[in-house]
Subunit: 480 residues, 2 copies
Amino acid sequence: MRAQPIGRLGRVDRRSWLGKVRDAVDSLVKHSPSRFAILIFASLIVLFTVLFSLPIASADRQVTPLHDAVFTAVSVICVTGLATVDMATHWSPFGNTLVFIGVNIGGVGVLTLASILGLVISRRLGLRAKLIAASDSNPSRIHVGPVSERQAIRLGEVGGLLATVAISALVIEVTIAIGMIPSMLAAGYDAWHSFWYSFYYSAMAFTNTGFSPNPGGLEPLVGDYWFQSLLMLGVFLGSLGFPVIFALARAWRHPHRWSVHVKLTLTTTTILFVAGAAMFLLLEYGNPKTYGQLDAGPTVFQSFFMSMMTRSGGFSTIDMHDLNGSSLLVSDMLMFIGGGSASTAGGIKVTTLAVLFLAAFAEARGAPSMEAFGRRIPRDMLRLSVSVVLWGATIVAVSSIAILQITKQPFDYVLFDVISAFATCGLSTGLTAELPPEGVYVMALTMFMGRVGTVTLAAALAASQRRQLFKRPEERPIVG
Amino acid sequence: MRAQPIGRLGRVDRRSWLGKVRDAVDSLVKHSPSRFAILIFASLIVLFTVLFSLPIASADRQVTPLHDAVFTAVSVICVTGLATVDMATHWSPFGNTLVFIGVNIGGVGVLTLASILGLVISRRLGLRAKLIAASDSNPSRIHVGPVSERQAIRLGEVGGLLATVAISALVIEVTIAIGMIPSMLAAGYDAWHSFWYSFYYSAMAFTNTGFSPNPGGLEPLVGDYWFQSLLMLGVFLGSLGFPVIFALARAWRHPHRWSVHVKLTLTTTTILFVAGAAMFLLLEYGNPKTYGQLDAGPTVFQSFFMSMMTRSGGFSTIDMHDLNGSSLLVSDMLMFIGGGSASTAGGIKVTTLAVLFLAAFAEARGAPSMEAFGRRIPRDMLRLSVSVVLWGATIVAVSSIAILQITKQPFDYVLFDVISAFATCGLSTGLTAELPPEGVYVMALTMFMGRVGTVTLAAALAASQRRQLFKRPEERPIVG
Ligand SMILES: [K+]
Ligand SMILES: [K+]
């Protein structure tokens, strides 16, 4: 008789059913965090599709067509903000509550998943250590060693992180919502609607979703600079990403203690915000359909608003259909870049772009390594960034070709809505709402690939470090 | 009295005026090869602008407007093939001769300059060594050492290279031209026109320019598979690049002796050629304006023809204006990629794209280094490739925004013509010919930046290697 099998059996027997599930999830999180993320996202989308299909979810108590239910579920869980139905009128109060809960799960869940994944890729530091590492300049982050079993992630840690993120999100959303109520009352809504719309808009801002609850959307609120500024603040905080929010909350008075990730995200975000606003100002100030009839002050403010919203917010005070082609292209670029890593924003992420430019600058200076804020950026970050950009470009290209071929609509509108879907921005030229069912499914897939893909790809790639057994001779092709 | 100044003065005095110029050029080539290339290009463009402006250059003996003369000069010297005037009827025989000479200087000159620059970037090996190195798997190429004064390039070597390239170009162009004469005769042209058109088309194919000398262009020759195949052969050889042609000429029976550069160029070119044709077939077989009325065989052939020509040839048997939006996007991507390094083709070059994908594959496999055909690709190639792509994307974006704002034309046509200009492809939706003068100058600048920039950028960047005096601490941002 051998002791081991019995011992193992005995241990399994002592465990509860819940314990087994817990072990399985623990194992999945530990061994394949990217598959875990994809599984979670897919399950949420299936669940919300079923819920949105229920007659009680729609205002007219009819079953919502499958493609619209799928699209809404994906758009909500991926915090995109694109819609194939009128979000303000199609859904019942139950449906609207689903949307509200869905974007919070999607937004906060993404923050958490991304943080978990970011953690796994960073050589499996302990979770707390990783969060501190990513948010200030603690030297432990620099440590790269073999993976210790004890440092691997446990489900308990995931729960703790989820709670931290949820509480932060709640505090920010409630604060902004309270600030919005006076604006809603001033716009003529009654007390209950002012309350509900404020919380809805606040959640839509922080989660970077961009749905409007009221018929007419932002129109009754355009020119209310207090309200628009609160929207921008919510979008801005959400798009920075959890590690940056965490760092700012801990050490906003001490910029020298911020990590390179925080500095890089803030710098790139600021540059894109100002440059985007300048471009919209330059290209649209003379367009009679957009800013042409506004005075100088409002034009400048709305340009900044537009610049912030293209980076993933998805709210707009003008019709994207009326923009000049040049502004559509500028928006395409800003949307594709998106927000910060581990944020509610989409796109390839600002740090990805920053790493590409740091590489080009290093190349131009003939410097041996990429540098930012007095730190070297490891060489493998460039490879990871290139992979993310290639992934994004491939999805946008394939999806655009498919939508172009299905609809035969003008390329500028197709490209705009496809990039908006990929980067989960939510701005639309109106094309998405007019798509036939097969186009709706293509767009839903684009949102899913853009949101889940970009978040998990970097993690999956970076986690698959493999040791090389032998070294091949080196050879240099010619490029350029 | 000190000896040295007198000695130096004495040496200078003994030198002829020509010797001084030679020394200056030698010094420029050696110390700043990219500035040398830009200077040569700019001088040629100024010279050809003056020549094209002369009344004897135009068929009606009028002075050609400056913007048209500048555009034609840039288009000819950069072997683009875009036109703002009707190339078949606007120019006199003298003008047509200028075009013929111009594309050969531009095409052959680019090959040579690119080779010189490629040589400088490759740690300044001797010129012959470099050519051999880039074209077969001679181990000397792997040597990376300090720059020896004796290994620096001398003007004499440049002359030798120019002669080699010119003779190769001549042999290829004459062979193809002779093959085309029967087709021209069969199409009903007289002996002289058949001869002239054959040489013109052959030169336009090998230099990847894409102008047509006869009114009606390729129309009388569509369906002549022999002629179209010769055109494709010329474009194909020109777009491979000199190092690859050199390797194939030396060792076409021995693929195992080819360098990674040769293998990478041939593989990527083949993949893009077949994939492009498959996409055009799929997206256009049902389009009544393009391949809709053709049978299966001709549709397949014309799809391959189209795929080859988008990669920089610039000839077309169908009107780009009639393509589906999806096919325009596929063409945009193929044009942007372009042909081989040190070739008459434009774009970011196939090896640049290949390096990006090799990096992504290495990342996905978790391998520590990029590999292709049993060789490691040095890490710094990725940085160089990223720089070239960012340069290309920036030019296309800025130029597209400018043209969109100037013309307010549909984005698909603007993007197509701008990428065609950047990648010196020469296909057009008809937009370029309709541009106002300021748009013509933007497009001319785009061609110049695309052609000269991409060729010299890689060299300028790679040449500026600098030693780092101290090492900064490493820190890892989050991307994706
Ligand atoms: K959004
Ligand atoms: K061309």
